[in-house]
């Protein structure tokens, strides 16, 4: 089992603030995904990063894959109440069957 640790576990911020969520592992992954999950729903894919050092931007969200492909970060600028949800990172290893191993999750609450 590949362990992905996310931090912080819980985050409550005011609307307009910036935040960063971290996803760390001792294992190397072929790719890393970030998902957002709302209560009662399945996770929805936000982004996939595959190259060490890669940075992807999705509107106010910036995702970075570590150079060694063991860690990743998600930065949200000017958070909005609609960003509230459970953020999950998931690592995949293509050479062993493409299993997706999920992180422990970060629960974000953005207060209006």
């Amino acid at each position: 089992t590949q362990l992905l640790e996310q931090s912080p576990q819980f985050l409550s911020i005011q609307e307009g603030e910036n935040l960063t969520v971290y996803c760390n592992s001792s294992s190397v992954f072929s790719s890393l995904q970030w998902y957002r999950q709302e209560p009662g729903e399945g996770p929805v894919l936000l982004v996939t990063v595959v190259t060490g050092g890669e940075v992807k931007k999705l509107k106010r969200l910036t995702f970075q894959f570590g150079d060694a492909r063991k860690d990743s970060s998600l930065h949200i600028t000017a958070a909005q109440p609609g960003d509230t949800g459970l953020y999950l990172c998931a690592g995949a290893q293509w050479d062993t069957g493409n299993q997706f191993y999920f992180g422990t999750g970060t629960s974000l609450t953005v207060i209006p």
Partner: protein, 120 residues
Amino acid sequence: EAGVAQSPRYKIIEKRQSVAFWCNPISGHATLYWYQQILGQGPKLLIQFQNNGVVDDSQLPKDRFSAERLKGVDSTLKIQPAKLEDSAVYLCASSLDYRRTPRLLNTEAFFGQGTRLTVV
């Protein structure tokens, strides 16, 4: 494009009873995953199918859990007998055949809405 379909959405059973969940993946997706998600935690992989074969079931509690994908499309996950600690959301996901598609496309898994199981 239709998404991953799961049923039922909710299920309440007593401990020691049996329960089954059904999943219909996205058309053309050869890989199917079952995950268990306990409230507030990340999903844990229970079993992964490639067509009708098992790729990984190392974290499936085989004394009480079973899963099948007989025709390589729909899948069922069964728990018999259920325990209190089985209360969780059971998520089904699907993706393209990781062996036959460009590596980048391998990496996207699409999830159903899940089945929330409560064992009392």
